[in-house]
Amino acid sequence: MNVNQSAPPVPPFGQPQPVYPGYHQSSYGGQPGPAAPPTSYGTYNGPGPGYQQTPPLGMSRAPPSTGAPPTSTAQAPCGQAAYGQLGQGDIQNGPSSSTVPTQRLPGSQPFGSPLAPAVSQPAALQHYGPPPTSAQVTAQLAGMQISGAMAPAPPSAGLGYGPPTLLASASGSFSNSGPYGSYPQGQAPPVSQAQGHPGVQPPQRSAPPLASNFTSPTSGGPRMPSMTGSLPPGQGFGAPPMSQPNHVSSPPQALPPGTQMTGPQGPPPPMHSLQQPGYQLQQNGSFGPGRGPQPNYGTPYSGAPTFGSQPGPPQPLPPKRLDPDAIPSPIQVIEDDRNNRGSEPFVTGVRGQVPPLVTTNFLVKDQGNASPRYIRCTSYNIPCTSDMAKQAQVPLAAVIKPLAKLPPEEASPYVVDHGESGPLRCNRCKAYMCPFMQFIEGGRRFQCCFCSCVNDVPPQYFQHLDHTGRRVDAYDRPELSLGSYEFLATVDYCKNNKFPSPPAFIFMIDVSYNAIRTGLVRLLCEELKSLLDYLPREGGAEESAIHVGFVTYNKVLHFYNVKSSLAQPQMMVVSDVADMFVPLLDGFLVNVNESRAVITSLLDQIPEIFADTRETETVFAPVIQAGMEALKAAECAGKLFLFHTSLPIAEAPGKLKNRDDRKLINTDKEKTLFQPQTGVYQTLAKECVAQGCCVDLFLFPNQYVDVATLSVVPQLTGGSVYKYACFQVENDQERFLSDLRRDVQKIVGFDAVMRVRTSTGIRAVDFFGAFYMSNTTDVELAGLDANKTVTVEFKHDDRLNEESGALLQCALLYTSCAGQRRLRIHNLALNCCTQLADLYRNCETDTLINYMAKFAYRGVLNSPVKTVRDTLITQCAQILACYRKNCASPSSAGQLILPECMKLLPVYLNCVLKSDVLQPGAEVTTDDRAYVRQLVTSMDVAETNVFFYPRLLPLTKSPIESTTEPPAVRASEERLSNGDIYLLENGLNLFLWVGASVQQGVVQSLFNVPSFSQITTGLSVLPILDNPLSKKVRGLIDSLRAQRARYMKLTVVKQEDKLEMLFKNFLVEDKSLSGGESYVDFLCHMHKEIRQLLS
């Protein structure tokens, strides 16, 4: 989006330039065709000089787009002429270029090496650009130039992603001018062009360029866009490749008016004509590029801009309705990133690289920085000063998932054992040895990279340095060469100076009337019998070290002695719930294998013992207290699995009242619904944390249970909450059992303390997630599993240094599930910048959304929801306005220009604003909101991404033989064809939507009924049928479920059915029933806000 054309910024781009090269490679090449890239490069090279000018655009991934825009005018003129021409052609370019050049040089120099390296590591190259090959260099240069030229382009924050695409895009954008022409030709574009053209056709001379633009977009997929079209929606983002067709369709008429989008099409021409080529173009660029690789945008925009300009100002009204295809499409961005960055491993050796999107499958090679699976940042380039940071309003945050699970291809962190001396640390700031520590004085001392303190190297750790100052054993030691690794902790790191005992799991089962009646207790006991064989174990251990214990409860607690020597288990009832304690020690926590017979007997008998219970009241706090006391008595850490059904109203500490009151919604008191009713649970949680007692809560409510209060302890102890409303064995068994199995089997760290250290200048100031903090720096987690994420926000303390960058070190001290005390260290180096454009070019919108959602979800505890929403909108507007003001090329105020990297910010933010927590629908219960609120708190980036913007997959569009996941479509009703079937998932829910006119054959082979009308609505299981379609769909469902941390229950929804309302709630680009704005409307809203800020 950034697409901005404005050249001014260009200089900044200079830096980016290096990036460009990289981008070029991956990206755009893609568009054109994978093969294309090289060629494109080639071409670029050729144009090289010319490009250089243009390159600036490229810089930002999107650069092209920016570049493009300008081109529009240029394009036409230039035609395919050399890019250079284009760039030059643009007035802007001219100026920008001038600046650019210088910059480039610097840029290149810094990268200096770029030339050489580039080739080997595309990714790396991108940033640093050092590619060795001449070609690359040139490419870089080209990029540089582009950026320079397009000064505005840089803004296309999009670049971040785009890098790869960038090139292409860049080219594309340029192509407007000439490049495109060339690309298109090479590629399929023609078709697209054709399509695009249709709509576009109108365009005049621009048309050709446009065409090219389109093509590019199509090819590139990514869109960038910036939109704007001032009033009109100028967004003309070239619709994503996919959309193209759509665009075509819609655009035809709408477009014209809309101008916005698709800049490429018709509009451009007009634009051109009407407006001054230069600017207009730029504007367009911003829009147009929208998605496509920025370059594309560029072009499209260029076209668009014109539109914008033309239509925009002039025809504000008509634009009212933006063409959805013209605005940045998440689907397109994801697809582009997948195509561009999915194939090459992401090598972490280089500082400040923006990793591929979370939606992209990629491998990571740890070469000194932590994998993005462990840490993702909102920006990989931090402003050097707090003033800059304040200006940009871009939150500086890292989303850390310390125990993230790695794909099998990637090695889990090495465990380093330093023996009795323990891990080597800086004496002053206590940072752990890491690859960034600088060894000096021949290796006898080292300087801390965080606090600069000079420390002695202990004799046993001494090693000589090589000529570059590196220790000669650097590659033999994980802590000197990798971004992530573990240390074995010494006894000093253990509680009470004692090595920990193996942890324990305690299963605490509600056996009140409700739990018995629904069959839950029987189901659970049956499952536990086998599940106990799969307790987490470490490495190749033969049996799990974890001990287990059992408690049942209603308004009193029943502990069980399952000592192996007993013939029968013994039940011990504790009725003193006011002052809970653990009645036994020996025999409560046992080894599963040793006590198997007794445990089995117990699990057989529990449902029988309580079969006739009439007890409906339950307690809750005492149950947790009991588990915690049991662990305390056993002197171990551990986890409680609570299976609970009802609001705890029995007389006991933590007794709750039903205080649900929907009337509070949208009042100042709404926040109380999210706050716990009593402080008991916080106090309890604190004690749990001190004991390393993590609580996982499974809720089976029939009515209000006050999730907000009940989830306090799980939340503060790093546990999870699962909720199965109106649980019925027949319907929910699979989901519950699947969740339970995963929850029990997952690897967990216990009694953990996490500390994030930073190099001088920034400081971790705020933390979000499921944990407890007793001071301002230590994140205490009674338990931590692979899915739990902590979001950390940083603030400036001081000025940062561009040269040394900024370092993060996340150290997690925890007890493994085998009872070993360990330290896991993740290091990450970030760049620092003095130019805002660099910041915008290295952002990650997904991470940003993760942070903003968590920030907002925490905000509702203390502020009215409306305030929270407004804050979000304001912050978003400020971010974008700052970009527009400082990084985008000057353009009409009516134009919406988005940074390439943040072009999805509005759509995603809108999803956050519309979420149940911030804008509940009528059917959303208070418990649901509280539940979701706490779920989101510990989500990682990938989870928030799909949670807020669900994936919608058409099932019958792609050939049945294709084994890959079908390409997603945008979450809007408009995208649904009533002849098709779609799957929608957001990580928690899974819907199968069946269009009303789906072929009977399809219905038959999927549902085993002859017609649409006979499909049972609300079905949760597909019949197992032996036909390719059924197999494929079921396979797809399974694979989707496998990707998510929780089992997603399937709901079959028929078009026009009652249930469809529920489903439509997840079509987040549409206006929601609860009043949430549609994407298009919100974009306009956002634009208005930005304009207000700018004026």
Partner: protein
């Protein structure tokens, strides 16, 4: 005369279980006071009477509400009018319709003189089974626990099959076990540190729940007994297997005890829960809470000592220095419990087996106020405990358990008398009435006492006050009367009432002092005075009590001695008083009044038994019996004196708490030489065996089992003997050295001779 009185006394004791200090009563208050030894009696309410089959009907009571005395042989009966006159209040009463056929020749048993004691079986209220609630300490050594478990398992076979049993175990926690034959065993667990009210306990045990909400059908038997049925107390015959298994699986308290610490033992809470459980389920039904503990309570309410081993449990020294920091609080806790238990009609037994003290001092009220047993031993793995415990369940000739529950003893007196109090395993019921004296001796201020548990030997001391004024002489030949009405639950669960009515002649002290002297029962008097002394010792400083006793003795001697003033050598006492000073001498040295060399627990233990045994046993406690075995003749009782310790004798001493067999020096040497194994010295073998057999006989009958000590000259355990005998020869009276007879005792205690000399001197002195 003497003989007559001895026979009379013995006869009365056998028939009525009563021994009076005076068998002729001084007729005025003033004179009675001057007699020094109060008018009092030892009453054994349930004295075993082989010849007393209970009658199967209700007693007839006087209709005057304030009297309610039972019809007895002393009543005047008008057979014509079918009227009887109460001999206590002179109310004339109509016989009930059932007595329509009454006549001089057709008298109901209660009017016959030989039935001055009579027992009625009455049908009143629901019959409730006996209840035995075991409260078991699990903080024991492994072998101790094992032995205890076996004893408990064995006891199940001794209980009546219908009896209800319950089990509570405790250590750091308290567990109330649910007893049912199916499914997994279940227990309710309580924190050992928290005192709970009866209501809380009942709530937590689910006892207070009205009825199951869904239980709509009315119970089949609406008149079913009103008790809350509870799964914690089940008939033995139903769950003896379960309980046997449960006991078998009982483990030592699993909570770790670190070095230098005592295990955490929640005796206070365990007892509290036991009391609360019975209170909520079976109030006013015969029930025994049997506490088995192997150490002092170390936590929670009722804790006696902290868990730090370096801080020893309180000693008498600490108590005197007011240095026993937990004592008062703990005592209060147990007293509260004891009173609750007593008012519910339940009793608490304490079986404390440990080498160190277990807190009996603080807990004594639990047994003393409820009539429970207190047994102290070194280990549960000793025959002392095992047999004692077994003896609890011994049966009488009818096959009934020798235990009764929930007794109420009511005392009625004729007008010249009032009752001043009682000393024994009872609590006051605070029933005021016309026969209650304002002066209290023992537990007074009431005419009724509750004795929650008693057996055929349980004996109370009951003290009276003559209130007749000196100037209102009683008509010659009239008699004073006292009636004891004991209502109780027999071990067969029947309700019974035993009525004993006795009468004694009044005598004018001025004119009939000789008669009164002759009617003095010095044994009963010694025991009754001792009870008073011991009773005082519980609340007063030891020396004060001794001084009081001395003063009483001196006054008695002054009153009844024959002497010339200021001439000690002239002092004489009549036969009826001759032994009394000696009893007092030994009493002064006894562990009941001397705490030196005894721990507070031991003192409490001794006093407990002293306050409930009958006259014979009490006398043994005051003055142990010593028998001598020799070749010179048959075994003979000898003086409890060091002079009796001779080289060629075997001594058998019975102190009630210990049976000591002591081989004289020569005998011991012979034994070591093995003569008893030589056929030609069979007589020596027999000599050695004789005391063993006799000891066995005593052991068989005694409850609790005495400590059995077999020792010889110079043996370390000879101290048991040496500490008891009168130290007539000590290192102080040198003349004794070198004499062939007797053995010197290394002590500074005065000997009986010295004691008597002083007594005489003081008695004849006109200064006092």
């Amino acid at each position: 005369m003497m003989t007559t009185y001895l026979e009379f006394i013995q006869q009365n004791e056998e028939r009525d279980g009563v021994r009076f200090s005076w068998n002729l009563w001084p007729s005025s208050r003033l004179e009675a006071t001057r007699m020094v030894v109060p008018l009092a009696c030892l009453l054994t309410p349930l004295k075993e009477r082989l010849d007393l089959p209970p009658v199967q009907y209700e007693p007839v009571f006087c209709s005057r509400p304030t009297c309610k005395a039972a019809l007895n042989p002393l009543c005047q009966v008008d057979y014509q009018a079918k009227l009887w006159a109460c001999n206590f209040c002179f109310q004339r009463n109509q016989f009930p319709p059932a007595y329509a056929g009454i006549s001089e020749v057709n008298q109901p048993a209660e009017l016959m003189p030989q039935f001055s004691t009579i027992e009625y079986v009455v049908q009143r209220g629901p019959q409730a089974p006996l209840i035995f609630l075991y409260v078991v300490d699990t903080c024991l050594e492994e072998d101790d626990l094992q032995a205890l478990k076996e004893s408990l398992q064995m006891s199940l076979s001794l209980l009546p099959p219908e009896a209800l049993v319950g089990l509570i175990t405790f250590g750091r926690m308290v567990q109330v076990h649910e007893l049912s034959c199916e499914g997994i065993s279940k227990s309710y667990v309580f924190r050992g540190t928290k005192d709970l009210t009866a209501k809380q306990i009942q709530d937590m045990l689910g006892l207070s729940k009205p009825a199951m909400p869904m239980q709509q059908a009315r119970p089949a038997q609406p008149q079913a007994h009103p008790f809350v049925s509870s799964s914690f107390l089940q008939p033995v015959h139903k769950i003896d297997m379960t309980l046997t298994d449960l006991l078998g699986e009982l483990q030592r308290d699993p909570w770790p005890v670190t070095q230098g610490k005592r295990p955490l033992r929640s005796t206070g809470v365990a007892l509290s829960i036991a009391v609360g459980l019975l209170e909520g389920t079976f109030p006013n039904t015969g029930a025994r809470i049997m506490l088995f503990t192997g150490g002092p309570p170390t936590q929670g309410p009722g804790m006696v000592v902290g868990d730090e081993l370096k801080v020893p449990i309180r000693s008498w020294h600490d108590i005197e220095k007011d240095n026993a920091r937990f004592m008062k609080k703990a005592t209060k806790h147990y007293e509260t419990l004891a009173h609750r238990t007593a008012s519910n009609g339940h009793c608490i037994d304490i079986y404390a087996c440990a080498l160190d003290q277990t807190g009996l001092l603080e807990m004594k009220c639990c047994t003393n106020l409820t009539g429970g047993h207190m047994v102290m031993g070194d280990s549960f793995n000793t025959s002392l405990f095992k047999q004692t415990f077994q003896r609890i369940f011994s049966k009488d000739f009818n096959g009934d358990f020798r235990m009764a529950f929930g007794a109420t003893l009511e005392v009625k007196t004729s007008r010249e008398l009032k009752v001043a109090g009682a000393i024994g395993p009872c609590v006051s019921l605070n029933v005021k009435g016309p026969c209650v004296s304002e002066n209290e001796l023992g537990v007074g201020g009431t005419s009724q006492w509750k004795i929650c548990s008693l057996d055929p030997t349980s004996t109370l001391g009951i003290y009276f006050e003559v209130i007749n004024q000196h100037n209102a002489p009683i008509p010659q030949g009239s008699r004073g009367a006292i009636q004891f009405v004991t209502q109780y639950q027999h071990s067969s669960t029947q309700k019974r009432i035993r009525v004993t009515t006795i009468a004694r002649n009044w005598a004018d002290v001025q004119s009939q002092l000789q008669l009164i002297e002759a009617a003095f029962d010095q044994e009963a008097a010694a025991v009754l005075m001792a009870r008073l002394g011991v009773f005082r010792a519980e609340s007063e400083e030891g020396p004060d009590v001794l001084r009081w006793l001395d003063r009483q003795l001196i006054r008695l001697c002054q009153k009844f001695g024959q002497y010339t003033k200021e001439d000690p050598t002239s002092f004489r006492l009549s036969d009826a008083f001759s032994l009394y000073p000696q009893f007092m001498f030994h009493l002064r040295r006894s562990p009941f009044l001397q705490v030196f060399n005894n721990s507070p627990d031991e003192s409490s233990y001794y006093r407990h038994h002293f306050a409930r045994q009958d006259l014979t046993q009490s006398l043994i406690m005051i003055q142990p019996i010593l028998y001598s075995y020799s070749f010179h003749g048959p075994p003979e009782p000898v003086l409890l004196d060091s002079s009796s310790i001779l080289a060629d004798r075997i001594l058998l001493m019975d102190t009630f708490f210990q049976i000591v067999i002591y081989l004289g020096e020569t005998i011991s040497q012979w034994q070591k030489a093995g003569y008893q194994n030589m056929p030609q010295y069979e007589n020596f073998k027999h000599l050695l065996q004789a005391p063993l057999d006799d000891a066995q006989e005593i052991l068989q009958a005694r409850f609790p089992m005495p400590r059995y000590v077999h020792t010889e000259h110079g043996g370390s355990q000879a101290r048991f003997l040496l500490s008891k005998v009168n130290p007539s020869q000590t290192h102080n009276n040198l003349y004794a050295w070198g004499q062939e007879t007797g053995a010197p005792i290394l002590t500074d205690d005065v000997s009986l001779q010295v004691f008597m000399d002083h007594l005489k001197k003081l008695a004849v002195s006109s200064a006092s």
